[in-house]
Structures are given as structure tokens and as C-alpha cells.
């Protein structure tokens, strides 16, 4: 199992929702190992859907209780194109080992806190990978230290502030030492200091980053390169500074 930052390559990725609606249309881009990429776009552009594909969570292999479509088959083959991590394409055979290289942090902390205590939550990933307990404990310490929550192992998640809970979710992803880290709206609900601290934190990481965000100022500081997604299509890509300065582009795609 390789460590260190992962290289990402996406080629003509397309995806349809079960009801036929197109979510992604032929998206193609690459991210070099250790690169920081911003993913910009209005609501409904498909940013979250793209992140789910990069994390290997789509297409879904499981019929959940919540799904509206009880008669739909359990396997979804509505995706085309490839996602490759370190040159290895994501497919049913490779998906598990590749998913181990990817960490994803969703927008809402409540959607991803699964442990009784802070320590238990951060330990979930390492334990799922069957690491020996001493290594799990070390990974938990590392993850918590990286996000500034050192010593919080025994605390209960519901006693943490909103910003601390976000950092807890990040710690849980970092504890697995991912090569590729995906973040969905990491600054939503954070105050200016929280945003600044998060930016500094992410800046210190070695992993490849893909950050989906509306927060133009935040991504401009953190990510040298950006992609713009609108209605499932990649409509622009290039230096973040240049894209953010193009007022007409921002207006056309609902970013300003």
C-alpha cells in the first residue's frame, strides 16, 4: 500500500441519477500528486456528486432504506468514464484498496460523526483497516494533533462546538493517512478565525487536495488551480487567481 500524496486522473466521467437526470457530463481533468485543486460552481452543479465519484462512493452498490425507488436494481451502472488514483482505475475489483487511499469530509458534521467519543470516532477508519491497536491509538493522536484537538479523546462529540466538530471530521479522515483528501464546503458556518485556521491546517498537509467550495477567498489562498463546474459540465479551469478575477465568468456561472 503506497503512502504519500496520490495522483488523480478523471477521464470523461459521466453520471446519471436513477430518474434519468444527468448529473455529470464528460468531466476530464488531472491533479498531480500533492496538488491543491479547487472545485467551484453554483448549487446543483454536481460538485458533491463529483467528489462522491472520486471517493469511490458512486455508483452505489447498495439499496438503502431511504431510497425512493424500491424496484430499482441494486447495482447502478449509470456511470461512464474512468476515475484513476495513482494510475489505477476505480472498478469493482480495485475499489476497496483504492478507497483506502482517499479521505472525504462531507459538509455536515452530523452526517459523519459515528463514534461515541472523539477518540472512538477518529479511530473508526484505522480500526476498519484492521491496524493493530497501538497503531490505531497513534493514528488517533496524530489526527487530533493535526487539527488542533490534541487530548480530546475522551470528550463527547455533542459537547464540541460547531468548528470543533468540523475539525473532528477532518481528524477522522486524516487518521487514515490518505493520499487524496476531498472536502465539501469545509468553511460553511465557520467564523473568520475558523476559516483562517482551517486554511493554515490544510496548507500544512502533504496529501493531494480537492476542495469544493463557494468560498472564493478561501480557495484563492489555498488552491493555485481551480475547476469550474456548472450543470454537470466542466466550463473552465486554470489558475485560481485568474478565474476569480474574471467577473463575467463568475456571473455567468452563478459564482457572484
Amino acid at each position: 500500500m503506497s503512502t504519500g500524496p496520490a495522483a488523480l486522473s478523471v477521464h470523461e466521467l459521466a453520471y446519471h441519477y436513477p430518474d434519468g437526470q444527468a448529473a455529470l457530463r464528460s468531466v476530464t481533468f488531472v491533479a498531480a500528486a500533492g496538488e491543491r485543486l479547487a472545485l467551484l460552481g453554483p448549487n446543483g452543479a454536481g460538485k458533491s456528486t463529483l467528489l462522491l465519484h472520486l471517493a469511490g462512493l458512486l455508483p452505489e452498490r447498495q439499496r438503502y432504506l431511504h431510497r425512493h425507488d424500491p424496484d430499482a436494481p441494486a447495482h447502478r451502472h449509470d456511470a461512464q468514464g474512468t476515475v484513476a488514483i495513482d494510475g489505477v482505475a476505480l472498478d469493482p475489483g480495485s475499489i476497496r484498496s483504492l478507497r483506502a487511499r482517499v479521505g472525504i469530509v462531507f459538509e455536515d458534521p452530523e452526517d459523519q460523526i459515528v463514534g461515541l467519543t472523539v477518540g472512538e470516532d477518529v479511530a473508526y477508519g484505522p480500526r476498519a483497516r484492521r491496524w493493530p491497536e497501538p497503531e490505531v491509538a497513534a493514528a488517533v493522536r496524530e489526527g487530533l494533533a493535526a487539527v488542533g484537538l490534541a487530548g480530546f479523546e475522551e470528550r463527547f462529540p455533542h459537547h464540541l462546538s460547531r468548528g470543533e466538530r468540523r475539525r473532528l471530521c477532518l481528524a477522522g479522515a486524516l487518521a487514515c493517512r490518505p493520499g487524496l483528501l476531498l472536502l465539501d464546503e469545509p468553511t460553511s458556518g465557520l467564523d473568520p478565525r475558523g476559516r483562517r485556521e482551517l486554511g493554515e491546517l490544510l496548507g500544512r498537509l502533504a496529501a493531494t487536495l480537492v476542495v469544493a467550495s463557494h468560498d472564493l477567498a478561501f480557495v484563492a489562498e489555498l488552491c493555485p488551480r481551480a475547476l469550474v463546474l456548472d450543470r454537470g459540465e466542466l466550463v473552465a479551469s486554470g489558475a485560481t487567481a485568474g478565474l476569480v478575477a474574471d467577473r463575467e465568468l463568475l456571473l455567468r456561472h452563478g459564482l457572484a
Binding site: A55, L57, Y64, L65, H66, R96, R99, A100, V102, G103, I104, F106, D108, E110, D111, Q112, I113, V114, G115, L116, T117, E120, Y124, G125, A128, R129, R130, H158, G172, A173, C176
Partner: protein
């Protein structure tokens, strides 16, 4: 002390206290019963204290049961042989409260995480342990969500509270409760699915 051992000792003491004879059949309450109940009470209080609780907390946790315990104990005592009724009543109430205190103290000292570890140490099937863990994790936010929804309902309905009285306006009351319950359930299932996705993302199927 390891969680499994604490749980074993605590529950064992509870079982002993709960089944010690209370003189229902007419014979006097044996001395060792009183000893067992005293031990259970002491152990329970100790469990609370060592978990950071106070005596007042113990009392509150157990005292709310008193009306119910009395309701069950007094008729049973009244049906006991004459001359033993008072002692049977006292014994029954003591037995119930002592056993409850011991169980409560054990659980308090362990806390949710300790309880989970203890239950696993007992060899409870992993599937059950996982369901228990998920329930404990989701309990607090569930209660908050339910409370918030109830407050919103009360605010909308005003003087009638969240949904009125069942016997006075059964249709509206049941409909209101139905909507509340179904909405809460749907939100619960949505969140559960999101969390399951997070678990898969973090490696749930890597095992």
C-alpha cells in the same frame, strides 16, 4: 477494573439483590436478604460516586420509580399472610430500589462507552453491539431533534400544546402525531443513510 468485570460484578449483585427472598410466602425475611440489599445499595452509590455523580443524583434516578414500585408492592404485601404484611411491603420496596440502585450505579460508572465495551466483553453478538452503539451515538441528537420539532408544533398550535387532546379531537390529534412521527422518522433515516455512507467512505467494507 475492566468494563467487562465491572459489568459482571454490578449485574451479578443486582441479580442477587433482586431475587433475595422478601417474605411473600409468609415466612420471615431472612437476614441475608437485608445484607444483600444493603450491599447492593452501597455498591450502587459507590458506582455513582466513582463515576463523578452525587448522592442527590442517585436519589433522583431511583426515586422516580417509587410510585410505580409502591403500586406493585403494596397489593402484593396486602395479599401476604397476616402479621407479615408490613415487613413484606418494606422488604419488597427495599428489594426493588436496592437492585435498581446497583444497576444504575454500574451503568453510570461505566458510561455509554464502558457499557458498550462491557457488553462486547460478555460475548454479545457483534451485530447487536453495533446496533447498540449506533443507537447510543444517535440518541442525543435524536432527542434534540424531537424536542425542537415539538417546540415548533407547540408554537404553531398555541394553547393546545403540540397537538390537542386525544379524546376531545381524536382526528386532528392523531393526524398531528402521525405527521410528527413520520417526519422525525424520515429525517432519522436520511441521517442514518448519510452516516452509513460516511462509514463506507472510512472503510466499513474493508474488513
Amino acid at each position: 477494573m475492566r468494563p467487562g468485570a465491572v459489568l459482571a460484578v454490578g449485574l451479578g449483585l443486582t441479580a442477587l439483590a433482586a431475587t433475595a427472598p422478601a417474605g411473600l410466602g409468609g415466612e420471615p425475611v431472612p437476614g441475608w436478604s437485608w445484607l444483600a440489599w444493603l450491599l447492593a445499595l452501597a455498591a450502587g452509590v459507590h458506582g455513582f460516586r466513582s463515576g463523578g455523580g452525587t448522592l442527590a443524583q442517585v436519589a433522583r434516578r431511583v426515586a422516580w420509580l417509587l410510585p410505580f414500585v409502591l403500586m406493585l408492592a403494596l397489593p402484593a404485601a396486602l395479599l401476604a399472610a397476616a402479621g407479615h404484611r408490613a415487613s413484606a411491603a418494606v422488604a419488597l420496596v427495599t428489594r426493588s430500589l436496592a437492585a435498581t440502585t446497583s444497576a444504575a450505579g454500574t451503568a453510570f460508572r461505566l458510561g455509554p462507552l464502558g457499557l458498550l465495551r462491557g457488553v462486547r466483553a460478555f460475548g454479545v453478538p457483534e451485530r447487536l453491539a453495533l446496533v447498540l452503539e449506533a443507537a447510543l451515538v444517535g440518541l442525543r441528537s435524536m432527542l434534540e431533534r424531537a424536542r425542537a420539532m415539538l417546540r415548533a408544533r407547540s408554537a404553531r398550535r398555541g394553547k393546545d400544546g403540540a397537538w390537542g387532546l386525544l379524546l376531545r379531537e381524536p382526528g386532528a390529534t392523531l393526524r398531528g402525531f402521525g405527521r410528527f412521527g413520520a417526519a422525525l422518522l424520515l429525517r432519522t433515516l436520511e441521517r442514518a443513510e448519510a452516516q452509513e455512507r460516511a462509514r463506507v467512505a472510512r472503510g466499513a467494507d474493508l474488513a
